[in-house]
Symmetry: C2
């Protein structure tokens, strides 16, 4: 099969500086961070402000138009071990190893991570989000609106 080239469209800015500080996969976090989008892609952000979390965090609308105030940020975990096919879940050595596709481990053949985060504000090319566990400097691959119907 053919390979494809990912060109990052932005980067994470966060107080989380070290992979050891990041919450383990599967853990929820309230960590706030910035998604700094390459200005070349500014036009692609147009309309995302509709996805901003309303004050108080209430969900608005219903059915397919229900808005959760959340977006999905896809990152490339450049420090991952792409050759690892089995891991101890949550890095707990007492748990038996399992295939990486049955875990949310960063170590996997294509280390694309999913972050469903609350969109707090947009200023120019900078998105402020809550619930981001990627560390500072992580390349961003894509941004999508979260849909409770499609993704929930």
């Amino acid at each position: 099969m053919k390979d494809f080239v990912v060109r990052p469209i932005g980067v994470i800015r966060s107080d989380l500086k070290d992979p050891a500080d990041a919450p383990k996969q599967g853990a929820l976090t309230e960590q706030e961070a910035e998604v700094v989008v390459d200005p070349a892609f500014l036009a692609a952000l147009d309309g995302l402000e509709r996805r901003m979390a309303p004050a108080g965090g209430a969900v608005t609308g219903d059915g397919p138009h229900r808005k959760s105030g959340k977006i999905i940020v896809l990152c490339w975990l450049h420090g991952a071990d792409r050759g690892r096919l089995r891991v101890h879940p949550r890095d707990q050595e007492e748990l038996p190893e399992r295939g990486v596709f049955s875990t949310r481990s960063p170590h996997r053949p294509n280390p694309v991570s999913l972050h469903t985060v609350t969109l707090l504000s947009i200023e120019g090319n900078v998105l402020r989000v809550r619930g981001m566990d990627a560390i500072d400097g992580t390349p961003v691959v894509d941004i999508k609106p979260h849909s409770p119907e499609l993704d929930g």
Copy 2:
């Protein structure tokens, strides 16, 4: 920023043969399809059988261990236009154009798609899933367990 290389780990096999047949982004589908994983990654599937949808589709467990019977399949939409930054939502020309990051359009700088699908069965390297709107031949990039807490 540095580029990265995606190496597909499998391919979609589906009766949906043409992009024009695929449901529009944002539409739910009951389409069944197969995720055929490259046998080189067989070990990475170990444990995924725990994610299989129980008969009747009931959700089991609770809290962080709640299981939805769903997995997330990430694909690379190789037919996408990577230079397109704005689109008419759902291809409806009467709707004003918006930035691709505020839509689920396949056209985006890095055309990684998310498919939250029900896992029906696993036989060797072949996963049978329901709710897959990617067309036949679409390269698969990653497979993750779906977590109602992280992704909902």
